[in-house]
């Protein structure tokens, strides 16, 4: 059950219906509608103005939240390229040539489905080794032809099935990370919904990491984390607090470079507007990176991830002499 969907029922839905009814009556009722709309805005602030991390997890999983193909629809052009050339075309990871705001790019995204049928085909956005190998292939292609890489992250995690283990899921993810480390072109990743652990990072080792305000990006799912720490998945809300998985937290750690604000109540309340803002932001980041020489780009990318962490250095005099 989605907390946000539940909260959208009741008074909010009623108000929406009443406003719609008044609007239908035409101009004579517009004054009354405006009063209700003011009420509606107040209710939105009340319900969604101050979300907890756990509520944001539900926002990120909201069934109406824009998913990757909503973003692709806003590109100038997209030609999908299929398959890992070895085994299968994984529909949980979509990639290909694209044009965004006139710029040629290689597009890579985790793709969830809109309904059960599509979700089964897309494995709920959980990528298998074949998907990561397709991604790696397209990353290398991007470098060969000097095309920036644009990725959209939206996955609860890499597929944890038997078949994925048999085909070396770990190696597949590891090879994507290598491909992005080596990339001689700008890489811009956007966390649009769920950023689930290593399966998300595999396409997010980027020069610029953008994050939707209510997206989450986490080392483990709150449910999984709670199960491990307390043996009780029901303590997920608490785990969500601990994990520091919100966009504001991650901006503070330097893990995310830029946040795109969402409409009050979540991205789905103005999906078209939100998608356009995200695409403008990606375009802006690409523009900032486009003239950077590849060597400088790679050096900066190295330095960016090199400094993430929180260790302490205690002086050990023995080492000072040994390492000179």
């Amino acid at each position: 059950m989605n907390l946000i969907v539940e909260r959208e029922k009741g008074p909010l839905q009623e108000l929406e219906a009443r406003i719609a009814a008044l609007r239908e009556r035409g101009t004579g009722a517009s004054g009354d509608a405006a009063v209700l709309e003011e009420k509606y805005r107040e209710l939105l602030v009340d319900l969604f103005g101050n979300l907890t991390p756990w509520e944001r997890v539900h926002m990120a999983r909201h069934p109406k939240r824009p998913i990757s193909d909503d973003y692709v629809a806003g590109f100038d052009q997209f030609d999908e390229l299929h398959g890992d050339r070895h085994f299968r075309d994984d529909q949980a990871l979509v990639g290909g040539f694209a044009k965004l705001r006139g710029r040629r790019v290689v597009y890579l995204a985790q793709q969830k489905g809109r309904d059960t049928k599509e979700n089964i085909r897309r494995n709920f956005g959980m990528v298998s080794p074949e998907g990561y190998r397709k991604a790696r292939r397209l990353m290398d292609l991007a470098s060969r032809f000097g095309l920036p890489i644009v990725t959209l992250v939206d996955t609860s995690g890499a597929d944890p099935g038997i078949a994925s283990e048999e085909r070396a899921q770990a190696e597949a993810i590891a090879s994507c990370l290598v491909a992005l480390s080596k990339a001689t072109v700008p890489v811009v990743a956007t966390i649009i919904g769920e950023g689930g652990s290593g399966g998300a990072l595999a396409i997010a080792l980027a020069d610029s990491v953008i994050m939707a305000e209510n997206a989450v990006y986490s080392v483990a799912s709150p449910e999984g984390c709670a199960a491990i720490l307390w043996g009780d998945a029901a303590r997920a809300p608490e785990a969500a607090e601990h994990l520091k998985l919100t966009s504001a937290d991650l901006l503070g750690f330097g893990i995310v470079d830029r946040i795109v604000s969402e409409p009050l109540g979540g991205a789905h309340r103005d999906a078209a507007g939100f998608v356009a803002t995200v695409l403008d932001t990606i375009d802006d980041e690409l523009r900032k990176l486009e003239d950077t020489p590849p060597a400088v780009l790679r050096e900066r990318r190295y330095a960016k991830f090199r400094r993430i962490g929180a260790w302490e250095r205690k002086n050990v005099s023995r080492l000072a002499t040994a390492l000179t």
Binding site: A174, G198, H242, I308
Partner: protein, 294 residues
């Protein structure tokens, strides 16, 4: 699949305390093993060949020619998320420091193997389940950078439950950081070898463990991305016994070889001998005794 620690401890309770100090029970076949014999046999059961998990320093001692010069031991953990679950993270770290006699989940440094100078990293499951937090990431990165500077081959023994939850996303980002260091190191033509020991999973297997030129799995080690328990819970079915074992990985083509612990050192030396020109590493060889003086 090795016996979980709690069960192992429970079983050990059968033995009186004074004897328990001298004996260890094999969790696989139940044989009582005289600890000195067990140590002499590299912590491998003399009866059934079960590989006990090995302490990082024991492993290093069994591997290197003489001296091991540790680097990176000045890099120590903080508590960036001010994490508390059942206990505060800082208390868990302190408890593990005492329990394991280690300052973190990986030991890094320089040594020689049959005269070959190498950079060596050894992870230890006894410290926070070998999880990768920012210290493991920093020490591994530091090791690869120092090895690259000296053009030394690098060997890393992995043992890890994955990314360390108590450091949240900072821990996950160590996958990116170590990968970049591996990539730079290898791009310069340096040899990188990993030895996957029991267990190697999650963020470590999906980064520097599976990015090596040569990947060796220690016999019977459990290796994979998703943990066995996670898969069983997700699929609600019991997995076959050999699933994610070293031997399974060899059959599926994920590793170059599976090697029993007794043969690991000689295997590494042979690989160094094939891949590394002794003349090329000669200057580095000279540099190592300078460290070893410490």
């Amino acid at each position: 699949m090795p016996m979980p620690d709690w069960l192992r401890r429970l079983r050990e309770k059968d033995v009186p305390a004074e004897e328990a100090a001298l004996w260890a029970k094999c969790p696989s076949c139940g044989e009582m093993l005289y600890k000195k014999d067990l140590e002499a046999n590299l912590s491998v059961c003399t009866k059934c060949n079960y590989h006990f998990r090995m302490h990082a320093y024991d492993r290093i001692n069994a591997l290197v020619d003489g001296d091991f010069v540790e680097i990176g031991d000045e890099i120590l953990p903080g508590d960036p998320l001010q994490w508390t679950d059942k206990r505060p993270y800082l208390q868990k770290l302190e408890a593990d420091r005492i329990k394991s006699s280690l300052s973190e989940a990986v030991v890094t440094g320089f040594a020689t193997l049959d005269g070959f100078p190498v950079a060596l990293g050894v992870m230890d499951f006894n410290f926070r389940g070998g999880t990768m937090g920012t210290v493991v990431g920093e020490r591994i990165t530091n090791l690869l950078e120092e090895a690259r500077r000296r053009k030394l081959p690098c060997i890393v023994f992995t043992a890890s439950g994955g990314a360390r939850m108590e450091e949240g996303m900072l821990a996950l980002m160590q996958m990116a950081k170590t990968t970049q260091a591996v990539e730079r190191f290898m791009a310069d033509g340096n040899l990188y070898v990993t030895v996957l020991t029991d267990p190697t999973t999650g963020g470590v297997s999906a980064s520097f463990a599976f990015q090596a030129d040569i990947i060796i799995a220690e016999a019977r080690a459990s290796v994979g991305f998703a943990g066995r328990r996670v898969i069983e819970q997700t699929l609600r079915q019991k997995l076959p016994d050999n699933f994610q074992t070293a031997e399974f990985l060899l059959e599926k083509g994920h590793v170059d070889m599976v090697v029993g612990r007794a043969e690991v050192r000689d295997t590494l030396v042979r690989i160094l001998d094939y891949a590394v020109d002794r003349k090329r590493v000669a200057p580095a060889l000279k540099a190592v005794p300078e460290f070893a003086l410490q």
